[in-house]
Protein backbone atom coordinates (compact mmCIF):
# COMPACT_ATOMS: atom_id res chain seq x y z
CA UNK A 1 0.00 0.00 0.00
CA UNK A 2 1.24 3.48 -0.77
CA UNK A 3 2.53 5.59 2.11
CA UNK A 4 -0.20 8.21 1.73
CA UNK A 5 -2.92 5.59 2.04
CA UNK A 6 -1.25 4.04 5.08
CA UNK A 7 -0.95 7.46 6.71
CA UNK A 8 -4.63 8.10 6.16
CA UNK A 9 -5.50 4.65 7.50
CA UNK A 10 -3.33 5.15 10.58
CA UNK A 11 -4.95 8.47 11.36
CA UNK A 12 -8.37 6.91 10.82
CA UNK A 13 -7.59 4.02 13.14
CA UNK A 14 -6.26 6.40 15.78
CA UNK A 15 -9.48 8.42 15.60
CA UNK A 16 -11.58 5.27 15.92
CA UNK A 17 -9.64 4.13 18.96
CA UNK A 18 -10.00 7.56 20.51
CA UNK A 19 -13.74 7.57 19.82
CA UNK A 20 -14.07 4.10 21.30
CA UNK A 21 -12.13 5.05 24.40
CA UNK A 22 -14.25 8.15 24.92
CA UNK A 23 -17.53 6.29 24.55
CA UNK A 24 -16.41 3.45 26.78
CA UNK A 25 -15.71 6.01 29.46
CA UNK A 26 -11.99 5.23 29.56
CA UNK A 27 -11.20 8.92 29.36
CA UNK A 28 -13.00 11.70 31.19
CA UNK A 29 -15.03 13.60 28.58
CA UNK A 30 -14.48 16.78 30.52
CA UNK A 31 -10.79 16.64 29.60
CA UNK A 32 -10.63 14.47 26.51
CA UNK A 33 -13.75 14.79 24.37
CA UNK A 34 -14.63 12.25 21.69
CA UNK A 35 -13.76 13.13 18.10
CA UNK A 36 -17.44 13.33 17.24
CA UNK A 37 -18.00 15.85 20.02
CA UNK A 38 -15.09 17.87 18.69
CA UNK A 39 -16.57 17.78 15.20
CA UNK A 40 -19.89 19.09 16.47
CA UNK A 41 -18.16 21.77 18.50
CA UNK A 42 -16.23 22.83 15.41
CA UNK A 43 -19.42 24.06 13.78
CA UNK A 44 -20.26 26.13 16.83
CA UNK A 45 -16.78 27.47 17.22
CA UNK A 46 -16.30 28.61 13.63
CA UNK A 47 -18.46 31.63 14.24
CA UNK A 48 -16.10 33.20 16.79
CA UNK A 49 -12.92 31.40 15.89
CA UNK A 50 -12.65 32.36 12.24
CA UNK A 51 -12.45 36.12 12.78
CA UNK A 52 -10.00 35.54 15.60
CA UNK A 53 -7.94 33.32 13.32
CA UNK A 54 -8.05 35.96 10.63
CA UNK A 55 -6.78 38.59 13.01
CA UNK A 56 -3.96 36.35 14.18
CA UNK A 57 -2.96 35.44 10.64
CA UNK A 58 -2.95 39.07 9.55
CA UNK A 59 -0.76 40.09 12.47
CA UNK A 60 1.51 37.12 11.81
CA UNK A 61 1.77 38.06 8.15
CA UNK A 62 2.94 41.58 9.00
CA UNK A 63 5.39 40.25 11.56
CA UNK A 64 6.57 37.66 9.03
CA UNK A 65 7.17 40.21 6.30
CA UNK A 66 9.24 42.33 8.68
CA UNK A 67 11.12 39.29 9.93
CA UNK A 68 12.01 38.16 6.41
CA UNK A 69 13.16 41.61 5.29
CA UNK A 70 15.29 42.14 8.38
CA UNK A 71 16.56 38.58 8.37
CA UNK A 72 17.59 38.55 4.70
CA UNK A 73 19.04 42.06 4.84
CA UNK A 74 21.13 41.51 7.95
CA UNK A 75 21.92 37.98 6.86
CA UNK A 76 23.46 39.24 3.61
CA UNK A 77 25.55 41.82 5.45
CA UNK A 78 26.78 39.51 8.21
CA UNK A 79 27.22 36.52 5.90
CA UNK A 80 29.33 38.47 3.42
CA UNK A 81 31.74 39.75 6.03
CA UNK A 82 33.49 36.76 7.58
CA UNK A 83 34.97 38.69 10.48
CA UNK A 84 31.66 40.20 11.46
CA UNK A 85 30.02 36.80 11.36
CA UNK A 86 32.65 35.23 13.58
CA UNK A 87 32.56 37.97 16.18
CA UNK A 88 28.77 38.03 16.39
CA UNK A 89 28.18 34.31 16.17
CA UNK A 90 28.05 33.46 19.90
CA UNK A 91 25.68 36.38 20.54
CA UNK A 92 23.37 35.30 17.74
CA UNK A 93 23.32 31.66 18.74
CA UNK A 94 22.69 32.57 22.36
CA UNK A 95 19.87 34.93 21.39
CA UNK A 96 18.31 32.21 19.23
CA UNK A 97 18.41 29.55 21.95
CA UNK A 98 17.14 31.65 24.81
CA UNK A 99 13.41 31.76 25.72
CA UNK A 100 12.33 35.09 24.28
CA UNK A 101 9.21 35.04 26.39
CA UNK A 102 11.37 36.45 29.17
CA UNK A 103 11.25 39.89 27.55
CA UNK A 104 7.57 39.71 26.70
CA UNK A 105 6.28 41.13 29.98
CA UNK A 106 8.52 44.14 29.47
CA UNK A 107 7.34 44.60 25.88
CA UNK A 108 3.73 44.52 27.07
CA UNK A 109 4.58 46.97 29.81
CA UNK A 110 5.87 49.45 27.27
CA UNK A 111 3.60 48.87 24.31
CA UNK A 112 0.46 47.84 26.12
CA UNK A 113 -1.85 45.22 24.66
CA UNK A 114 -2.83 45.42 21.03
CA UNK A 115 -1.39 44.74 17.63
CA UNK A 116 1.96 46.47 18.25
CA UNK A 117 3.47 44.08 20.80
CA UNK A 118 2.11 41.13 18.82
CA UNK A 119 3.80 42.33 15.62
CA UNK A 120 7.02 43.17 17.44
CA UNK A 121 7.23 39.86 19.26
CA UNK A 122 6.25 37.89 16.15
CA UNK A 123 8.99 39.67 14.21
CA UNK A 124 11.48 38.91 16.98
CA UNK A 125 10.65 35.23 16.78
CA UNK A 126 10.52 34.93 13.02
CA UNK A 127 13.67 36.95 12.42
CA UNK A 128 16.22 34.59 13.96
CA UNK A 129 15.78 31.44 11.84
CA UNK A 130 15.78 33.55 8.68
CA UNK A 131 18.91 35.42 9.78
CA UNK A 132 20.87 32.32 10.76
CA UNK A 133 19.92 30.36 7.66
CA UNK A 134 20.72 33.26 5.31
CA UNK A 135 24.11 33.75 6.97
CA UNK A 136 24.79 30.06 6.45
CA UNK A 137 23.62 30.29 2.87
CA UNK A 138 25.86 33.23 2.03
CA UNK A 139 28.82 31.54 3.69
CA UNK A 140 28.19 28.43 1.56
CA UNK A 141 28.24 30.23 -1.79
CA UNK A 142 30.82 28.46 -3.92
CA UNK A 143 33.81 30.77 -4.37
CA UNK A 144 34.44 29.46 -7.87
CA UNK A 145 31.15 31.00 -9.04
CA UNK A 146 32.34 34.38 -7.82
CA UNK A 147 35.71 33.92 -9.51
CA UNK A 148 34.03 33.00 -12.76
CA UNK A 149 31.71 35.99 -12.56
CA UNK A 150 34.64 38.33 -11.90
CA UNK A 151 36.56 36.80 -14.79
CA UNK A 152 33.63 37.52 -17.04
CA UNK A 153 33.54 41.16 -16.08
CA UNK A 154 30.95 41.24 -13.30
CA UNK A 155 30.87 44.47 -11.30
CA UNK A 156 30.32 44.26 -7.50
CA UNK A 157 26.55 44.77 -7.66
CA UNK A 158 26.35 42.11 -10.36
CA UNK A 159 28.14 39.67 -8.06
CA UNK A 160 25.20 40.11 -5.69
CA UNK A 161 22.39 40.11 -8.22
CA UNK A 162 23.69 37.37 -10.54
CA UNK A 163 25.48 35.02 -8.17
CA UNK A 164 24.91 35.50 -4.45
CA UNK A 165 21.17 36.19 -4.42
CA UNK A 166 20.19 33.30 -6.72
CA UNK A 167 22.61 31.01 -4.86
CA UNK A 168 21.04 31.68 -1.45
CA UNK A 169 17.46 31.12 -2.59
CA UNK A 170 17.27 27.62 -1.02
CA UNK A 171 18.58 28.97 2.30
CA UNK A 172 16.14 31.89 2.19
CA UNK A 173 13.28 29.50 1.48
CA UNK A 174 14.30 27.23 4.35
CA UNK A 175 14.44 30.27 6.61
CA UNK A 176 11.08 31.48 5.39
CA UNK A 177 9.54 28.10 6.04
CA UNK A 178 10.73 28.16 9.64
CA UNK A 179 10.04 31.86 9.92
CA UNK A 180 6.31 31.64 9.32
CA UNK A 181 5.87 29.02 12.04
CA UNK A 182 7.95 31.09 14.43
CA UNK A 183 6.25 34.37 13.61
CA UNK A 184 2.86 32.76 14.09
CA UNK A 185 4.13 31.27 17.34
CA UNK A 186 5.22 34.67 18.58
CA UNK A 187 1.86 36.26 17.82
CA UNK A 188 -0.03 33.41 19.50
CA UNK A 189 2.13 33.65 22.62
CA UNK A 190 1.42 37.37 22.95
CA UNK A 191 -2.28 36.72 22.54
CA UNK A 192 -2.23 34.02 25.20
CA UNK A 193 -0.12 36.03 27.59
CA UNK A 194 -1.73 39.42 27.35
CA UNK A 195 -5.21 38.56 26.14
CA UNK A 196 -4.70 40.40 22.85
CA UNK A 197 -7.62 39.52 20.57
CA UNK A 198 -6.86 36.61 18.31
CA UNK A 199 -6.67 32.85 18.13
CA UNK A 200 -4.29 32.59 21.07
CA UNK A 201 -6.69 34.43 23.34
CA UNK A 202 -9.51 32.28 21.96
CA UNK A 203 -7.69 29.07 22.86
CA UNK A 204 -6.79 30.36 26.32
CA UNK A 205 -10.36 31.44 26.97
CA UNK A 206 -11.77 28.03 26.02
CA UNK A 207 -9.23 26.32 28.23
CA UNK A 208 -10.05 28.54 31.19
CA UNK A 209 -13.75 27.88 30.72
CA UNK A 210 -13.13 24.12 30.59
CA UNK A 211 -14.85 23.91 27.21
CA UNK A 212 -12.89 20.88 26.07
CA UNK A 213 -14.67 20.07 22.77
CA UNK A 214 -14.54 23.74 21.70
CA UNK A 215 -10.90 23.98 22.68
CA UNK A 216 -9.95 20.90 20.74
CA UNK A 217 -11.97 22.11 17.76
CA UNK A 218 -10.24 25.49 17.78
CA UNK A 219 -6.86 23.80 18.15
CA UNK A 220 -7.69 21.59 15.21
CA UNK A 221 -8.62 24.65 13.16
CA UNK A 222 -5.38 26.47 13.86
CA UNK A 223 -3.28 23.36 13.29
CA UNK A 224 -4.89 22.63 9.93
CA UNK A 225 -4.37 26.17 8.69
CA UNK A 226 -0.78 26.17 9.86
CA UNK A 227 0.01 22.84 8.21
CA UNK A 228 -1.61 24.05 5.00
CA UNK A 229 0.54 27.20 4.97
CA UNK A 230 3.73 25.22 5.51
CA UNK A 231 2.81 22.67 2.83
CA UNK A 232 2.14 25.53 0.42
CA UNK A 233 5.53 27.06 1.18
CA UNK A 234 7.15 23.66 0.69
CA UNK A 235 5.52 23.29 -2.72
CA UNK A 236 6.64 26.78 -3.65
CA UNK A 237 10.14 25.97 -2.50
CA UNK A 238 10.25 22.82 -4.60
CA UNK A 239 9.12 24.78 -7.64
CA UNK A 240 11.88 27.33 -7.22
CA UNK A 241 14.57 24.73 -6.62
CA UNK A 242 14.14 22.59 -9.69
CA UNK A 243 17.81 23.02 -10.50
CA UNK A 244 19.11 21.14 -7.45
Amino acid sequence: MKPRALQAVSVGVALLVWEGAARAGLVDPLFVPAPTAVAIALRRVLGEALPALGRTLLTALVAYALAVCLGVGLGLIIGARRYLGEVLSPFLIAAYGVPKILVLPWIILILGTGAAPAVLYGTLHGFFPVLLLVIGGVRDVDRSWLTVARAFGARPWQLYSRVILPAIVPAVLAGMRLGIVFALLGVLVVEMFAGVRGMGAELAARANAFQAPELFAATLLVSTVSIAIVLALDALGDRLSRWR
Partner: protein, 268 residues
Protein backbone atom coordinates in the same frame (compact mmCIF):
# COMPACT_ATOMS: atom_id res chain seq x y z
CA UNK B 1 64.09 39.66 -24.98
CA UNK B 2 61.46 37.30 -23.66
CA UNK B 3 61.99 33.65 -24.53
CA UNK B 4 59.64 32.46 -27.20
CA UNK B 5 60.03 35.57 -29.30
CA UNK B 6 61.85 34.72 -32.48
CA UNK B 7 63.04 38.24 -33.16
CA UNK B 8 62.52 41.66 -31.70
CA UNK B 9 59.86 42.29 -34.31
CA UNK B 10 57.89 39.39 -32.94
CA UNK B 11 57.64 41.02 -29.56
CA UNK B 12 56.12 44.12 -31.11
CA UNK B 13 53.52 42.05 -32.93
CA UNK B 14 52.95 39.57 -30.13
CA UNK B 15 49.42 39.32 -28.86
CA UNK B 16 50.42 38.77 -25.24
CA UNK B 17 53.70 39.95 -23.74
CA UNK B 18 54.69 38.91 -20.24
CA UNK B 19 57.78 40.69 -18.98
CA UNK B 20 59.62 39.93 -15.73
CA UNK B 21 56.51 38.98 -13.82
CA UNK B 22 56.77 37.94 -10.21
CA UNK B 23 54.00 36.97 -7.75
CA UNK B 24 54.17 36.29 -4.06
CA UNK B 25 51.40 34.87 -1.86
CA UNK B 26 50.83 35.15 1.88
CA UNK B 27 50.05 31.76 3.33
CA UNK B 28 49.57 30.65 6.93
CA UNK B 29 53.12 29.33 6.89
CA UNK B 30 54.66 32.53 5.54
CA UNK B 31 55.10 34.16 2.14
CA UNK B 32 55.40 31.84 -0.87
CA UNK B 33 56.95 32.88 -4.16
CA UNK B 34 54.71 31.40 -6.84
CA UNK B 35 56.22 32.88 -9.97
CA UNK B 36 59.58 34.55 -10.36
CA UNK B 37 60.69 36.81 -13.18
CA UNK B 38 58.73 35.07 -15.92
CA UNK B 39 58.91 36.48 -19.43
CA UNK B 40 57.31 35.14 -22.55
CA UNK B 41 55.44 36.23 -25.66
CA UNK B 42 52.46 34.66 -27.35
CA UNK B 43 51.84 35.35 -31.01
CA UNK B 44 48.44 35.81 -32.57
CA UNK B 45 46.35 32.71 -33.19
CA UNK B 46 48.93 30.61 -31.50
CA UNK B 47 47.99 27.66 -29.31
CA UNK B 48 50.49 28.13 -26.52
CA UNK B 49 50.63 25.55 -23.75
CA UNK B 50 52.21 26.25 -20.40
CA UNK B 51 53.33 23.06 -18.75
CA UNK B 52 55.09 22.32 -15.49
CA UNK B 53 55.00 20.29 -12.28
CA UNK B 54 52.39 20.87 -9.56
CA UNK B 55 52.76 24.10 -7.70
CA UNK B 56 54.95 25.73 -10.34
CA UNK B 57 52.67 28.71 -10.61
CA UNK B 58 51.19 28.07 -14.03
CA UNK B 59 47.65 28.72 -12.83
CA UNK B 60 48.82 31.89 -11.11
CA UNK B 61 50.47 33.02 -14.31
CA UNK B 62 47.28 32.42 -16.24
CA UNK B 63 45.23 34.30 -13.64
CA UNK B 64 47.60 37.25 -14.03
CA UNK B 65 47.29 37.25 -17.79
CA UNK B 66 43.53 37.17 -17.30
CA UNK B 67 43.67 40.20 -15.06
CA UNK B 68 42.25 38.37 -12.03
CA UNK B 69 45.40 38.78 -9.97
CA UNK B 70 47.88 41.67 -10.23
CA UNK B 71 51.60 40.82 -10.54
CA UNK B 72 53.88 42.05 -7.77
CA UNK B 73 56.52 42.98 -10.32
CA UNK B 74 56.75 43.10 -14.10
CA UNK B 75 54.17 43.90 -16.75
CA UNK B 76 51.65 42.05 -18.84
CA UNK B 77 50.60 43.64 -22.10
CA UNK B 78 47.76 42.53 -24.31
CA UNK B 79 47.90 44.10 -27.75
CA UNK B 80 50.47 46.44 -26.31
CA UNK B 81 48.16 47.63 -23.51
CA UNK B 82 48.30 46.68 -19.83
CA UNK B 83 45.45 44.82 -18.02
CA UNK B 84 44.34 46.39 -14.74
CA UNK B 85 41.52 43.94 -14.30
CA UNK B 86 39.51 41.22 -16.02
CA UNK B 87 38.58 42.35 -19.51
CA UNK B 88 36.28 39.78 -21.05
CA UNK B 89 36.19 41.72 -24.30
CA UNK B 90 39.82 40.90 -24.88
CA UNK B 91 40.45 37.84 -22.75
CA UNK B 92 38.03 35.02 -21.82
CA UNK B 93 38.76 32.37 -19.21
CA UNK B 94 38.01 28.69 -18.73
CA UNK B 95 38.84 27.04 -15.40
CA UNK B 96 39.39 23.47 -14.33
CA UNK B 97 36.18 23.57 -12.34
CA UNK B 98 33.63 24.56 -14.99
CA UNK B 99 32.01 26.86 -12.45
CA UNK B 100 28.59 26.73 -14.06
CA UNK B 101 25.84 28.47 -12.12
CA UNK B 102 23.64 25.53 -11.14
CA UNK B 103 20.36 27.46 -11.24
CA UNK B 104 20.82 28.35 -14.91
CA UNK B 105 20.27 26.16 -17.93
CA UNK B 106 23.16 25.32 -20.24
CA UNK B 107 22.06 28.02 -22.66
CA UNK B 108 21.80 30.66 -19.95
CA UNK B 109 25.22 29.67 -18.65
CA UNK B 110 26.75 30.14 -22.09
CA UNK B 111 25.07 33.54 -22.28
CA UNK B 112 26.34 34.58 -18.84
CA UNK B 113 29.22 36.78 -20.02
CA UNK B 114 26.97 38.44 -22.56
CA UNK B 115 24.37 39.08 -19.87
CA UNK B 116 26.93 40.74 -17.64
CA UNK B 117 27.88 42.97 -20.52
CA UNK B 118 24.29 44.06 -20.95
CA UNK B 119 23.51 42.37 -24.26
CA UNK B 120 19.71 42.21 -24.60
CA UNK B 121 18.02 38.89 -24.02
CA UNK B 122 17.03 37.87 -27.57
CA UNK B 123 20.50 38.72 -28.88
CA UNK B 124 22.39 36.81 -26.29
CA UNK B 125 20.13 33.77 -26.58
CA UNK B 126 20.74 33.82 -30.30
CA UNK B 127 24.51 34.07 -29.96
CA UNK B 128 24.56 31.31 -27.36
CA UNK B 129 22.18 29.23 -29.45
CA UNK B 130 24.48 29.49 -32.47
CA UNK B 131 27.27 27.99 -30.43
CA UNK B 132 25.26 24.93 -29.41
CA UNK B 133 25.97 23.18 -32.72
CA UNK B 134 29.76 23.41 -32.59
CA UNK B 135 29.62 22.58 -28.87
CA UNK B 136 27.62 19.45 -29.61
CA UNK B 137 25.00 20.49 -27.07
CA UNK B 138 22.00 21.20 -29.25
CA UNK B 139 19.64 18.90 -27.34
CA UNK B 140 20.88 20.06 -23.97
CA UNK B 141 20.21 23.76 -24.18
CA UNK B 142 17.51 23.76 -21.51
CA UNK B 143 19.15 21.24 -19.17
CA UNK B 144 20.58 22.16 -15.80
CA UNK B 145 24.25 21.51 -14.95
CA UNK B 146 23.39 18.69 -12.59
CA UNK B 147 21.90 16.83 -15.56
CA UNK B 148 25.08 17.15 -17.62
CA UNK B 149 28.19 15.00 -17.63
CA UNK B 150 31.62 16.41 -16.73
CA UNK B 151 32.62 16.71 -20.36
CA UNK B 152 29.39 18.46 -21.27
CA UNK B 153 29.77 20.92 -18.42
CA UNK B 154 33.25 21.81 -19.54
CA UNK B 155 31.94 22.33 -23.08
CA UNK B 156 29.38 24.75 -21.68
CA UNK B 157 32.18 26.57 -19.86
CA UNK B 158 34.19 26.78 -23.07
CA UNK B 159 31.10 27.93 -24.93
CA UNK B 160 30.65 30.64 -22.31
CA UNK B 161 34.17 31.83 -23.05
CA UNK B 162 33.71 31.66 -26.81
CA UNK B 163 30.40 33.54 -26.69
CA UNK B 164 32.23 36.72 -25.83
CA UNK B 165 34.18 36.46 -29.07
CA UNK B 166 37.32 37.76 -27.43
CA UNK B 167 40.56 37.34 -29.31
CA UNK B 168 42.26 35.48 -26.51
CA UNK B 169 41.02 32.45 -24.59
CA UNK B 170 42.88 31.28 -21.48
CA UNK B 171 42.28 27.74 -20.27
CA UNK B 172 43.47 26.43 -16.91
CA UNK B 173 43.62 22.63 -17.04
CA UNK B 174 40.06 22.51 -18.41
CA UNK B 175 40.13 18.74 -18.92
CA UNK B 176 41.89 17.95 -15.68
CA UNK B 177 38.86 16.50 -13.94
CA UNK B 178 37.81 14.26 -16.83
CA UNK B 179 38.64 10.62 -17.46
CA UNK B 180 41.22 9.75 -20.10
CA UNK B 181 38.86 8.81 -22.93
CA UNK B 182 36.87 11.99 -22.48
CA UNK B 183 40.07 14.02 -22.35
CA UNK B 184 41.23 12.67 -25.69
CA UNK B 185 37.89 13.35 -27.33
CA UNK B 186 37.65 16.81 -25.81
CA UNK B 187 41.14 17.57 -27.09
CA UNK B 188 40.12 16.65 -30.64
CA UNK B 189 36.95 18.67 -30.32
CA UNK B 190 38.84 21.68 -28.95
CA UNK B 191 41.21 21.64 -31.93
CA UNK B 192 38.30 21.61 -34.35
CA UNK B 193 36.73 24.57 -32.60
CA UNK B 194 40.02 26.44 -32.40
CA UNK B 195 40.90 26.05 -36.07
CA UNK B 196 37.50 27.44 -36.97
CA UNK B 197 37.42 30.23 -34.38
CA UNK B 198 41.02 31.34 -34.99
CA UNK B 199 41.66 32.60 -31.47
CA UNK B 200 44.84 32.95 -29.49
CA UNK B 201 44.80 30.24 -26.85
CA UNK B 202 46.96 29.95 -23.75
CA UNK B 203 46.41 26.50 -22.29
CA UNK B 204 47.71 25.27 -18.95
CA UNK B 205 48.18 21.56 -18.37
CA UNK B 206 50.41 19.12 -16.63
CA UNK B 207 49.80 16.48 -19.31
CA UNK B 208 52.61 15.98 -21.82
CA UNK B 209 50.18 14.28 -24.15
CA UNK B 210 47.82 17.21 -24.25
CA UNK B 211 50.66 19.64 -24.76
CA UNK B 212 52.04 17.69 -27.71
CA UNK B 213 48.66 17.02 -29.27
CA UNK B 214 47.23 20.50 -29.07
CA UNK B 215 49.88 23.19 -29.16
CA UNK B 216 51.94 25.16 -31.63
CA UNK B 217 54.32 26.12 -28.85
CA UNK B 218 55.04 24.72 -25.39
CA UNK B 219 56.48 26.76 -22.55
CA UNK B 220 57.94 24.66 -19.75
CA UNK B 221 58.12 26.16 -16.28
CA UNK B 222 60.46 25.14 -13.47
CA UNK B 223 59.31 23.91 -10.11
CA UNK B 224 58.26 26.58 -7.59
CA UNK B 225 59.07 29.40 -7.86
CA UNK B 226 58.12 29.09 -11.53
CA UNK B 227 60.51 30.48 -14.11
CA UNK B 228 60.58 29.77 -17.81
CA UNK B 229 62.83 26.78 -18.27
CA UNK B 230 62.51 26.37 -22.02
CA UNK B 231 60.28 26.97 -24.99
CA UNK B 232 59.57 24.34 -27.60
CA UNK B 233 58.03 25.14 -30.96
CA UNK B 234 55.88 22.45 -32.53
CA UNK B 235 55.46 23.33 -36.19
CA UNK B 236 53.53 20.15 -36.94
CA UNK B 237 50.30 20.00 -38.91
CA UNK B 238 46.97 18.99 -37.38
CA UNK B 239 45.56 16.52 -36.60
CA UNK B 240 48.62 14.98 -35.01
CA UNK B 241 49.52 11.34 -34.81
CA UNK B 242 50.68 10.66 -31.29
CA UNK B 243 52.49 7.56 -32.50
CA UNK B 244 54.63 9.33 -35.14
CA UNK B 245 58.39 9.43 -34.85
CA UNK B 246 58.47 13.20 -35.13
CA UNK B 247 56.16 13.65 -32.17
CA UNK B 248 58.13 11.04 -30.25
CA UNK B 249 61.30 13.06 -30.58
CA UNK B 250 59.48 16.16 -29.39
CA UNK B 251 58.11 14.21 -26.48
CA UNK B 252 61.55 13.03 -25.51
CA UNK B 253 62.83 16.59 -25.64
CA UNK B 254 59.92 17.93 -23.59
CA UNK B 255 60.05 15.19 -21.01
CA UNK B 256 63.74 15.80 -20.63
CA UNK B 257 63.00 19.41 -19.68
CA UNK B 258 60.15 18.60 -17.38
CA UNK B 259 61.31 15.46 -15.62
CA UNK B 260 63.96 17.21 -13.61
CA UNK B 261 61.48 19.85 -12.48
CA UNK B 262 58.83 17.29 -11.60
CA UNK B 263 61.33 15.49 -9.39
CA UNK B 264 62.17 18.75 -7.67
CA UNK B 265 58.50 19.46 -7.11
CA UNK B 266 58.05 16.06 -5.43
CA UNK B 267 60.71 16.79 -2.84
CA UNK B 268 59.27 18.14 0.41
Amino acid sequence: MPPGARTGADVAEAHIVVEGVTKRFETSSGPVLAVKDVSLAVARREFCTIIGPSGCGKSTLLAMIGGLVPPDAGTILIDGRPQPGPDPRRVALVFQDPGLLPWRTALDNIAFGLELRGVPRPDRRRIAGDLLGPLGLREFAERYPRELSGGMRQRVAIGRALALDSEIVLMDEPFGALDEQTRLLMGEWLLSVWTRARKTVVFVTHSLQEALFLSTRVVALTARPGRVKSVLDLPLPYPRDLESAELASFRAKLWGEIREESLKAMEP
